[in-house]
């Protein structure tokens, strides 16, 4: 792509057609879709610019050339990354893509921890996301209506299906066609391979547990780039699996590799970085959002940007924080909050439960490369009938690998024999871990702290979130079921695991959703079926904040499809003069 630097602005008197707040997965999509539909768009990002390739400073650096061999200086980690350091992707190669917790604090009630993992730079968390990409199914959009938890989704699967296709073709999703009702197929590039042990266990599993099936995890990687991917400057995945450092091959989807080049190519995009959105500007006479007020993160200068449409794509809690801080006499508790639900019904996914076991044999088999995904068992619990004493269900994911030097090193011995032992790969192990649906509950909520502010004067978010009885029962079932599956497939030394609250607080799955939910009724929901504010027609929220339930799939692909669909609607309404 052309150097984006020529598109950066600081001050502007222009009234843009649209402002997009945030530049991560949904912000990038909104910028692409709106500019491609002819709207002059300003993307506003609170963090610094990150250029594709040249700013991936941790990429491709050999461990012996890193100051601390990949480990983060403890003092730096404790002082500046107290929460971020809990994320699996946080290390010396990636720490510059993680939020500085000292500068951007938040509060939680005593005994109710919440891990808010953030990426505040151009590209947001799209640079470090785990890239798992799954469609929701008909069952998932019907779940709230069926059991009464949460409000009914204002859309159904067929409403979103074409938009899944739309984003998938651009993103590039590696996966296999399976024709499963619980997990509709995407537009696929070739799937990654199973290794020998996984292939053997898959054959057994599919036979013993039908209709459940073990498939290869679907991910936003170019296993075989199409011509339009190559035109974007994207290339084939090299199976490094060090994606969170940034990928100069452009082989995984990120704002930088995929949506930003497309938006820039239209000539209609401008980008303001280091611009912290303080609030959305609102004109009560017209009942319209008129722009955003921003604080320059470096100079503390306050500026305004103006536009005819405002899209909030600042992350689930980021967007809600801005809305809560956008108060007026019309909306004293936050812009568009006549329903009073803004900040409520926060969800994450239930991780941290599963099982692992040792697989005997296959001693002559190995693999090559570091596959950036693994085997996946789509939801099988409570699908056609209610089987358990908890509602909804979960997926299992994991895979098989041989023990590397990191595990071998803990084994008995020392000296020549020990060195020779570590040189060889050890036994095969197979793991299965859950991703469970968390029910939307009113009491899981965020609010602005009455007194605490960050160094830019923004009120801090107060996050009050906990797991429920349903969540805990599901985690038990995940661990038991994973262990049963492994045992029935012949695994030895099967060990169950359920992480404690201290080990895995809500938020750490980094699938936070809800707090500005979609719904049919303006009295009980914040957004309508087009991700449009019920109250303020030119205000849209298309990130995870809009979710009315969490389902059990990794949500990013759904965020993308919702964003693209909302942009098409907004652009159409804009051209009709209705916004």
């Amino acid at each position: 792509m052309a150097q984006a630097s020529s598109f950066y602005i600081k001050d502007s008197t222009e009234t843009f057609d649209a402002i997009v707040v945030g530049s991560g997965i949904t912000g990038g999509w909104a910028a692409k879709e709106l500019t491609e539909r002819g709207l002059r768009t300003l993307m506003v990002e609170r963090g610094r610019p990150v250029e594709h390739r040249s700013d991936y400073i941790g990429e491709g650096v050999d461990p012996w050339k890193m100051p601390n061999r990949g480990m983060v200086d403890l003092k730096v980690a404790e002082d500046q990354f107290a929460e971020q350091r809990k994320c699996y992707a946080f290390d010396e190669h990636t720490k510059h893509f993680f939020n500085n917790d000292r500068d951007m604090p938040y509060s939680t009630p005593e005994g109710k921890p919440f891990s808010w993992i953030r990426g505040n730079q151009l590209g947001g968390k799209s640079l470090m996301w785990a890239r798992q990409s799954y469609r929701w199914s008909a069952m998932d959009f019907e779940a709230n209506a069926k059991d009464g938890h949460g409000v009914d989704w204002p859309i159904r699967y067929p409403d979103l299906a074409p938009w899944y296709s739309h984003v998938e073709r651009h993103v590039g999703i590696a996966g296999s066609r399976e024709n499963m009702e619980t997990l509709p197929d995407s537009e696929f590039l070739p799937a990654f391979e199973f290794n020998t042990v996984e292939a053997a266990l898959k054959a057994k599993f599919d036979k013993s547990f039908a209709p459940a099936r073990m498939i290869m995890g679907r991910c936003a990687h170019l296993t075989q780039p199409a011509p339009h991917h190559q035109e974007q400057g994207r290339g084939t995945c090299q199976a490094r699996n060090m994606c969170q450092r940034g990928c100069s091959f452009g082989a995984y989807f990120s704002t930088q590799s995929s949506t930003l080049p497309a938006a820039v190519a239209t000539g209609k995009l401008r980008i303001a970085t280091n611009a912290i959105v303080h609030s959305v500007l609102y004109d009560p006479k017209t009942n319209r959002a008129t722009g955003v007020r921003v604080i320059d993160s470096e100079t503390m200068q306050v500026r305004e940007y103006h536009a005819k449409i405002v899209f909030l794509c600042a992350s689930t809690l980021g967007s809600t924080q801005v809305l809560l801080n956008s108060t007026s006499s019309s909306f004293p508790t936050g812009l568009g909050n006549s329903s009073g639900v803004l900040g409520h019904y926060l969800m994450d996914h239930l991780y941290g439960a599963g099982a692992t076991g040792r697989i005997e044999g296959f001693e002559e088999d190995f693999y090559s490369g570091r596959r950036p995904t693994g085997p996946y068992i789509p939801r099988f619990r409570n699908v056609t009938e209610q089987q358990t004493d908890f509602l909804r269900g979960y997926s299992l994911s994991g895979g098989a690998s041989r023990e590397g030097w990191q595990s071998q090193a803990w084994k008995p011995g020392f000296g020549k024999d020990y060195k020779a032992m570590v040189r060889k790969p050890g036994a095969w192990h197979f793991g299965l871990h859950g991703s469970g649906e968390m029910l939307p509950r009113f009491e899981n909520m965020v609010s602005l702290h009455p007194t605490k502010k960050d160094k830019w004067g923004m009120p801090q978010l107060h996050i009050d979130c906990s797991f429920s009885e349903n969540d805990r029962k599901m985690q038990e079932d995940i661990a038991n079921t994973a262990a049963n599956i492994l045992e029935s497939l012949g695994a030895k030394d099967v060990k169950k695991e359920i992480k404690t609250l201290e080990q895995w607080a809500p938020g750490l799955s980094i699938h936070e959703m809800g707090t500005a939910r979609m719904g049919r009724d303006p009295k009980t929901s914040f957004l309508n079926g087009n991700n449009q504010s019920h109250d303020v027609p030119n205000l849209f929220v298309t990130d995870g904040a809009s979710m009315a339930s969490s389902a059990w799939q990794n949500p990013s692909l759904t965020f993308m499809a919702l964003t693209a669909r909302a942009c098409a609607y907004a652009a159409e309404q804009f051209k009709l003069g209705k916004l």
């Binding site: 090299q238 088999d365 590397g404 090193a409 020392f414 060195k419 570590v422 060889k424």
Partner: protein, 199 residues
Amino acid sequence: MLQTEEGGRHEPQSPNAVRRSTLIRLAGLCGLALSGEALASLASDTPEKSKPGLLAPDQLALTAVLAELIIPKTDTPGALAVGAHYTISHLLKVCAPAAQQQQFVAGLERIDAVARAKGGKRFVSLAPARQVELLHALDEGKAPFNGEDKNFFMRLKSYTAFAYYTSEVGATRELVYLPIPGGFKGNVPLKKVGRNYAL
């Protein structure tokens, strides 16, 4: 890189390497203590050598001897040649919490205390055979050591392995280093790869 007649791999020995192996052999043969200074002249190319470290010279010397006993020179260089002790000392100082630092130093002191109790000499001054004998007891948590000592030795082994296998020699010569694998293949005979991957 040369192929030897045995099919093993080695690089022509630099004067530095010759000096190193001479020193180590001498130290081993004579039961000489490898002083901090003597060790400082070894592993001169290790990046952590010039960085701040946790360990005092005597502790660094003991760590160097223990690390080389854990991962010795074979057909590839050992822990001493890659300066694993400097890496461990540096990472302990920069990345380890205070409790872990104290445990490590206490573990070293305990090994020396046992060595002294058994013959009046510090561990580094013992004959190599005697060092190996003590380490076997340590590895198994048997007398004169105990279970807690065994846990320390496991941690020391993991530190040594980390320092060694993340070094250039450990990653690229002892193991298979594939920074850019070029794709994923799920079914590759082990004999084609031969060794564990460094990454």
